[in-house]
Symmetry: C2
Amino acid sequence: MVTFSSFVRTDSAPVYTQIIQYIQRGIAAGTIQSGDELPSRRMLSALLGVNPNTIQKAYRILEEDGLIQSHSGAKSYVSAAPEQREKIREQLLTDDIRKLVQALRQSGLEKTEAAALVERLWDEPES
Amino acid sequence: MVTFSSFVRTDSAPVYTQIIQYIQRGIAAGTIQSGDELPSRRMLSALLGVNPNTIQKAYRILEEDGLIQSHSGAKSYVSAAPEQREKIREQLLTDDIRKLVQALRQSGLEKTEAAALVERLWDEPES
DNA sequence: CGAACCGTATTATTCGACTAATACAGTTTA
DNA sequence: TAAACTGTATTAGTCGAATAATACGGTTCG
């Protein structure tokens, strides 16, 4: 069962995109595997405090991308092809880091400072 | 004169917040200094291809935060107190990196891998 | 079988970001 | 002084994200 225990809504991005990213990152990391059962639309909507339609939108897009499978009436399952996994992983990573690098550059940071800051904040993700 | 030559609209965040961040990062980096002249609402709206009201919204918030000053009829100028600068800088940096650390963690990366990836992508920010 | 789930679909409504058009008063400068 | 800028304000409209309230048919399991 895919759990959303570590799901946190940080930025102001649409919820449905954050749900998509959460699944994608889980698949990339291997913590979410093919065959895993997904929470139902209604259950997840209650858990995250959003509307069922919002979950449906996220799941529909994930299915169009071939990452999950839904059959009317039955539960939904993860179905990520092994070939997709590394592709997703690399794309997510480079996207994330590119955004950060651009932001840090604009703030006037140097390369080694940036890397050191990442290492330092890695161990203290709170507050 | 504050130039927007390196302004790029990456993510789907609201334009007015991106404009605010652009000024904030510039102040943090020192590339935008107190006393610098800002482009007029109309001019910047034409340059960025957005509505003048969008620029006005960004400028208004920046003025409420005490980072710029506007006088009806005259031009607008940067007015960031020295004490604010380091504060803004630190806040922006930690916010950026925290977001990244969380994303990289979720993708199953390790600390040293993450730092190395940042250093590597620092020198090749294109495609 | 039948209740309790499930996915799916529809319509209406709210809300914020953004556009569009326009107006008015203050400042600058030729 | 007068034109050409400025900042500021108002009103109306579009658009996508998200909510709300249902409804229908398929699946699961006691």
